[in-house]
């Protein structure tokens, strides 16, 4: 051990006062030799890393120089950094579905994949959107072109517009989602232009794309071709800094109608209460905190939501078993989940995991469902349901 051994006799001898006959010791004087006494408070003050609100100690330098603690100043809020690709070497085009101007999870994954393809060699991502879309910069888009004719839902007209735009832009890759809408558009486009299409890519890197074929018995792989559709949940969305999503003018596309034989295309109203839970987009769900199920069903009808329930309610026979949400019921794909009087057991929350928005009404502030919700109301659900019905009826009469 490097520590000096104390010799109490010697220490005592240093304190001895030599003023008289009688032996006397002056204990207030510090011992002339040996180790200093440690002051842990001063050491901590010295090791403190200045400038941070949270206490952090740096014990690597074992100096005991007293540091006057600097008054902690509030951290400057970091300005959101935006990555700008000024002179892209090439473009990776993305054609998102974006129903109602909002990116779907698959659209975000698509932009993440496009980002990776572009970042391999200093390219930029380009979104070809029919109509305005929110949140493109955060999802990783460098350039945005709003295509004319966004109002027309006829995909044959869109395919013609896309074909002319792409022939003017020459992107290195064009990515479509392998969804009902995106897959249809991509196939119409290649049928028209005669290009190759790699459908349903399940793995996508700068060097290789992979897809399943022959009922998932074989997989086909090749270097990424020009046109690809991406399968759901095959690529992670962009997680880095936001990109600028700069609006650039669309190339001249002569507005053309769709196929001449098509007379009309119209969307039919959806009967929400006839939908199965797995298909529904907006689910309102009752838990064992709900007693008045007539009121609950009336509210579901007024909101145009598909009714669901927790297992407690289904077990009690108050709602059909097909309405059960959760691990042993239906795993939802809905965009919004409205939970009334549901505590949010893990088995229930698994069914809600893929919902983007959750609204909860519960009497318990500490329920797991309240923690999961984007908007939580801590109140009895029944008056809130009645007030919602009244407000909706008042709006309908206006």
């Amino acid at each position: 051990m490097s520590r000096l051994r104390r010799d109490p006799r010697e220490e005592r001898a240093t304190h001895r006062l030599t003023d008289g006959g009688r032996p006397r010791w002056g204990l207030e004087a510090p011992p002339a030799s040996g180790r200093l006494r440690r002051d842990p408070r001063r050491e901590i003050e010295a090791a403190r890393v200045p400038g941070l609100q949270r206490l952090r100690l740096d014990r690597t330098s074992r100096s005991i120089i007293p540091v006057i603690p600097s008054p902690v100043e509030p951290l400057p809020k970091a300005a959101p950094t935006i990555r700008i690709v000024e002179e892209p070497a090439f473009l990776v085009a993305v054609v998102p579905d974006a129903p109602g101007g909002r990116l779907t999870p698959l659209d975000r994954q698509l932009l993440g994949a496009a980002r990776d393809l572009a970042d391999v060699a200093g390219g930029a991502t380009l979104v070809l959107a029919f109509g305005t879309v929110d949140g493109l910069g955060l999802a990783g888009a460098d350039r945005v072109i709003t295509m004319a004719g966004g109002g027309s839902e006829d995909p044959s007209a869109r395919a013609i517009a896309l074909a002319t735009a792409l022939s003017a832009l020459h992107p290195r890759h064009v990515l479509f989602p392998e969804s009902a809408k995106g897959g249809d558009l991509a196939r119409r486009l290649v049928a028209r232009t005669g290009e190759e299409l790699f459908t349903g890519a399940e793995n996508l890197t700068g060097k290789l794309v992979t897809r399943a074929a022959a009922n998932r018995r074989i997989e086909q792989r090749m270097a990424p071709p020009g046109l690809m559709t991406l399968a759901p949940d095959a690529h992670s969305p962009h997680a880095g800094p936001a990109h600028e999503a700069r609006e650039i003018p669309a190339p001249d596309v002569f507005p053309s109608g769709g196929h001449g034989a098509i007379l009309s295309v119209e969307d039919l109203p959806v009967a929400a209460d006839a939908l199965s839970l797995a298909e529904a987009d907006f689910v309102i769900s009752a838990g064992s905190g709900i007693a008045d199920f007539d009121l609950f069903r009336a509210l579901a009808r007024a909101l145009g939501a598909t009714p669901g329930a927790s297992r407690m309610v289904c077990d009690a026979g108050l709602m059909p078993r097909a309405a059960q949400v959760g691990a042993s019921g239906t795993v939802l794909e809905a965009a919004c989940y409205f939970a009334l009087g549901i505590s949010g057991a893990p088995q229930h929350l698994q069914g809600v995991a893929r919902c983007e928005h959750v609204v909860a009404v519960n009497t318990d502030l500490h329920a797991a469902m309240v923690e999961r919700a984007g908007l939580a109301i801590i109140a009895d659900a029944h008056p809130v349901m009645s007030a919602l019905l009244v407000a909706l009826r008042a709006e309908a009469q206006e």
Binding site: S156, A180, R187, R188, V190, A191, R192, L197, T199, A212, A213, A214, N215, R216, R217, I218, E219, Q220, R221, M222, P225, D233, A234, A261, I262, L263, V265, E266, L268, V270, L275, S276, E279, F282, E333, A335, C336, F338, P346, L349, V352, A353, C355, E356, V358, V359, V361, V370, E371, G374, L375, A376, I377, I378, A379, V384, A387, V390, A391, E398
Partner: protein, 255 residues
């Protein structure tokens, strides 16, 4: 009215034996809702799977013989050109092979006919075809178009007719040589399928069970707004405004 159903050289998804694809049989059933004559067409080396569709209501199956690896499109266009039907139906994907789902689109383009994907019901009124198309999340879209047209069928269409041996025996198969056409395209490497994990929100590797459960059940995103004991009217207004802001509820029409 005459309808033609395109049949692929399908394999059963589990056993791997030749069997007609489920959506192609649904296409036969859907064609029977408006056509009095429903024929089948297959171009390829072997029509054993397509032959299986005879028992589900096909009157006649035309088989254009090709060698393995030939492109069926020119043979199909030629077969349709000799006796044009009013309606061509197909499944969304072939029951074997590359399963890109491109063939109906290329066929429609080659014929110059309109195409609608994912049909669940068909109706005809004075030469105008009305197609109900299934979209995700239970939405439906109605298309009206002049015949002839190419339609692909969604799995949510009415179920196929069950197999009847007598009908299968009566159905006739016409064998004709097809037009050989090699497929050109970039080289595609093939190997046995390796399932990949689907991407799910997952905690970092080595996280504990509690964190993994949390990652599986909780959505990432900004923490929510909490209103404690508001008056019911204020709560209702906040909920309606929130639902409108996220776009699940249509904006109220105000006069």
């Amino acid at each position: 009215m005459k309808a033609l159903v395109l049949l692929s050289d399908a394999r059963h998804p589990v056993s791997g034996r030749p069997a007609p694809a489920a959506t192609e049989l649904q296409a036969v059933a859907l064609a029977h809702t408006l056509a009095d004559e429903v024929n089948g067409l297959h171009a390829g080396p072997d029509a054993e799977a397509a032959r299986g569709a005879l028992g589900h209501g096909l009157t006649r199956l035309e088989h254009r013989q090709l060698t393995a690896g030939d492109d069926p499109l020119p043979s199909l266009v030629a077969a349709i050109g000799t006796a044009p039907p009013d309606l061509v139906l197909a499944g969304p994907r072939a029951g074997a092979g590359a399963q890109t789902g491109l063939l109906p689109y290329c066929l429609a383009e080659a014929l110059g006919w309109p195409i609608v994907a994912d049909a669940v019901s068909l109706a005809v009124a004075d030469g105008v075809l009305e197609v109900i198309q299934a979209l995700p999340k239970g939405a439906r879209r109605r298309w009206r178009m002049r015949l002839p047209a190419v339609i692909t069928v969604h799995p949510a269409a009415p179920a196929a007719a069950s197999f009847a041996l007598g009908v299968a025996r009566k159905g006739q198969v016409v064998e004709t040589p097809g037009l050989p056409a090699r497929i050109e395209g970039p080289p595609v490497a093939e190997r046995p399928y390796r399932p990949r994990p689907r991407l799910i929100a997952s905690a970092a590797a080595g996280a504990g069970a509690a964190e993994r459960l949390k990652a599986a059940t909780q959505a990432t995103g900004p923490g929510g707004q909490v209103m404690v004991a508001p008056p019911p009217e204020a709560a209702a207004r906040a909920i309606l405004d929130h639902l409108r802001a996220i776009g699940v509820l249509k904006p109220a029409e105000r006069g």
